[in-house]
Amino acid sequence: MNDTLLDLTGVGLAFAGNRVLQDIDFNVPAGAVVSLIGPNGAGKTSLFNCITGFYKPQTGRITFGGHELLDLKPHLVTKAGIARTFQNLRLFREMTVLENVMSGMHCRTRSGAIAAVLRTPRQRKEEREIEAFSRDCLRFVGVDDDLDREATTLAYGHQRRIEIARALATRPKLLLLDEPAAGLNSGEKEDLIALIARIRDERGISVLLIEHDTGLVMKASERVSVLDHGVMIAEGTAREIQNDPKVIEAYLGQDDAEASLGF
């Protein structure tokens, strides 16, 4: 039905003898919200890092809208249309909210040193565009003021949203969110679910998220994939996953199995 936007086949990753990912077959359809869940240490962030080019898998292929991603440096992956947020919130320190988001527009603009020194009309127009679009992204995620405050001094919930705005500023086709709900209260989580839906519906951006909060996963995503010890053990709708015995068993190895399954 939907075209496949991101496609992983047979991806395997190992570090110094440790098999982190084994023979992963996985895809994200265009215009969808997909979640990736699994116990801690399953390899979810490593999968993100493979997609974004920070890790190089030893086996397999990753294609994105026709491009082969495997040999691309991370900044080229972003240019191709994949953006991400980080598990432990990595905003640029000592820089304002607006400046943080403006970083996303770097790969979509071209003015270099000479244009900057000469202040060519095109450079000035580009600077205005950068600021305008960055403000637009911030408005989209609901951050409207304090734009010239240092980003890391704002409330945690705000910072999470700024990170998303920053990723949106790269004009991605696919957005990778790494535990975007961590540390948010229930009201903020509801906002996040709405935001993810708007990202998909209003901006036409597909979303792949890693999450532990199953309630959120169920409400936000159309499809859920489960990773355990580097192996994809199940895939389906949220409802199907909840009742899958393999999934239950994988989580039973964790202390808070029942809690993490959201029963």
Partner: protein
Amino acid sequence: MGTFDIITHQLVNGLVLGSFYALVALGYTMIFGVIKLLNFAHGDLYMVGGFIGFLALSAISSVVGGAWPGIFVAMLFSMIAVGCLGVVIERVAYHPMLAAPRLSILITALAVSLVLQNTVLSLTQGQYTAFRSDLGFGGINLGSLFLTYNQMVLVAAAAVLMIALQVFVTRTQYGRAMRAVAIDKDMCELMGINVPAVIGVTFFVGSALAAAAGTMAGAYYGSIWYFMGFLIGLKAFTAAVIGGIGSIPGAMLGGLALGLLEAFGTQIPGIGSEWKDVFSFAVLILVLVFKPTGLLGQSEQERM
């Protein structure tokens, strides 16, 4: 001279040079191991060691004589003094900067280096100081090679120091703690190891070794100068990197390797003594670009 003679001659030169490089490189590598900082001022501790050794020898030579025994006593004195200086520097200048951005601590280390250099510069008006000793020029003949007693004593002394260090690192509590801190400092703190004390001891030992090299070099070459730490610092850094930064056997190996490389490098037609340093720097850059982990070092951690 025949080829064989050239080889043996340079072998000896390389060994002597390499001994100095190794002793200084050891301090670099040990300090890097525990606080992950390249102590830019380390070469200047070698220089200060040379000066203190000279002063000590002048003071005591009437009692212990000015030959090797006297020099070793002076050296011991210098090692203790410079060891303490190293600890003071760590406490005052580096410890407060450990949480600051990387650039800050590097510049601080540079500042310490400049303070040391310029203090001695002021005291000596920038002149070379003759390191007077009663070292003779005797030696033995091995074929056409004339091996001086000084050279033998030097290499032997360096070897003794390195063996002592190896024993310290593998057999004593502090030595083992030092290696543990180099592997995972935070874990060591959690396990109750007194990390600041271990760092202090590391600085003491590393600085003392540099001072030993400085005293011996001063005596051997006969003169000391405020700027002599600069070049040896860079060479020793090169040696530490060749051997693999953070690895103690690596520093010893690297020092030797660099000494030999330099000694034989000067024999390559075209590279006279004036290009010797360019040659060493080129080696440094090539190693860092193509094999940054050196011969025995550990590979970089993964990102993210």
